[in-house]
Symmetry: C2
Subunit: 317 residues, 2 copies
């Protein structure tokens, strides 16, 4: 019924009276009002005016139907777990790890979202994408970091607007972060049981708190336009599937050239922790294994992981 | 109170009457009986005879007290979760992964014990050791298989009686399996969150079912003597701690010579799956990374993991 009301509002350029909706669908005015309230909770911006009725100003649903409608993938996101609120979608995916390969876990808001190394990740309701993919690749545990890389590339392709990857697991526009990725792994000996790839994207955030504003941005801030989150989710899922299949076939071989082009870290001065020491140098590329190559005054080193500061990004000067 | 009754029985070479116990401890005869029943459930073999009382024939407890008493470790097994029955100790450890590094999870029986690749692992009550260690090593995910190797070596040292390692994760006496190891891993990107190392040892099993009898043995069958499981658990914990600390310091460098000597696989004809093909050859050693080196008619190959059949072991002829 909610979907039918949404369709009526979508099909109209002007206000639709509650009476008209109630007549058309054969439900009470109170029921119409209840569904309108529910649509608003799902992320629809619906204006109501006395004697005029309801006007859909912006429908930004990320419900199962909103995402599935027009999704062009084979298995990524074909099975969707939607949460109005949850602790973190990564936790939900881990708890449901018997769900099919490619299952999507998505929430309007997370009350326990987290980033790398247990850092908190704020998840304001209705403006962001907080999603996790459950994956069951037949790869050894050491290749998990490549999943993060291809997820970053998928997000870049999906959000456009000059998005670049800050190696290994952030996506930036200009010098500010628009997306973070946290990949988790469960393995038995040498065999991956499952991987959970969590992706958080700032979409329609209007403003960040002072401290965060220096480091974070959103698609709304960058483009000046409200975005439809379901569309972006679909694009991420579609781009991810293409890259993931390619990865399972040929690892990073064919992906690397685009990755390096999209990697804001490459070509810049960086500061990395290497063998427990802070080392500075110029990032000059990424290896076939996804490691960062840094040209330091002493030597060329490859960094597999960890904290990297990039000059000019997030206020590192 | 149970412990006090156990002490009275332990200190006596002959039957002790229920009356004497009840007088000595100031509890009712019914209470004595209740505790005796509970001690039996914990694995004590207590005979009772009319007009004579109770005789402790064999005390084989693996309760927290039984294991802690005389345990000489710094952090391995200092924190113990004991279960009369549970699904699997690996599952318990994963569920309690915020517990301290080195925590031990041990059960009298498991109703959902499992081996590699989801195979069932039978856990007969009161005769085996079903234990898992929760570990939080600061190592990359790809080193997880080394934990299995050092656990195997710890078990070999602890059980003695010519126990050898069948690479990578079984311990055998002669041609039959006495122990299986299943190591599981949770990681965030390049950082291990925690490792659960599950160890199952056949200790006082008197007889295996026909099918299993060809492949499995127990310490009782091999030595003709009932063993005290708590003693073996303590030895495993102590040997594991020594090897684990050495591993965290120097990886396998100093462990490898003993490992190769104790590895029944090395020097034998083996059949392995390599690049999706079954390949036969002679196992000639183990690399510093813990991989098996196999000399095949075509080439020397190193096998990181997976299924290995060893001629002469478990009926592979």
């Amino acid at each position: 019924m909610k979907d039918k009301i949404l369709k009526i509002l979508r099909d109209s350029d002007d206000y639709v009276s509650g009476e008209k909706i109630s007549d058309q669908l054969g439900i009470s005015r109170a029921a119409v009002w209840k569904h309108i309230r529910s649509l608003r909770a799902d992320g629809c911006e619906i204006i109501s005016a006395t004697n005029r009725g309801y006007l859909l100003k912006h429908a930004d649903l990320i419900t199962t139907e909103a995402i599935s409608d027009g999704l062009n993938t084979e298995f990524i996101g074909r099975n969707i777990f939607y949460f109005a609120e949850t602790d973190s979608t990564n936790n939900r995916a881990k708890a449901e790890h018997d769900a099919p390969d490619g299952s999507l876990f998505i929430a309007e808001t997370q009350n326990g979202g987290k980033g790398r190394r247990g850092r908190a990740w704020t998840s304001p309701k209705g403006t962001g994408i907080f999603m996790s993919l459950l994956l069951k690749p037949d790869i050894p545990p050491e290749e998990i970091s490549r999943i993060t890389l291809i997820a970053g590339l998928a997000v870049c392709r999906a959000v456009g607007n000059g998005a670049m990857i800050k190696w290994p697991n952030d996506v930036v526009i200009g010098s500010k972060k628009i997306c973070g990725i946290l990949t988790e792994l469960a393995a038995e000996d040498d065999m991956i049981s499952y991987v959970v790839c969590g992706i958080g994207v700032n979409v329609n955030t209007e403003k960040f708190d002072d401290e965060l504003a220096e480091r974070a941005t959103s698609l709304l801030i960058e483009t000046g336009r409200k975005q439809k989150r379901a569309e972006i989710v679909r694009k991420i899922l579609e781009e991810f599937e293409v890259l993931y299949k390619e990865f399972l076939q040929n690892r990073l071989d064919n992906i690397l050239p685009e990755y390096e082009k999209r990697c804001v870290t490459v070509g810049r001065e960086v500061s990395v922790v290497y063998r427990n020491k802070s080392v500075s140098g110029k990032a000059i590329g990424v290896t076939a294994d996804g490691a960062l190559i840094v040209d330091t005054p002493d030597d060329k080193i490859t960094v597999n992981s960890g904290e990297v500061s990039v000059r000019g990004i997030y206020g590192y000067i």
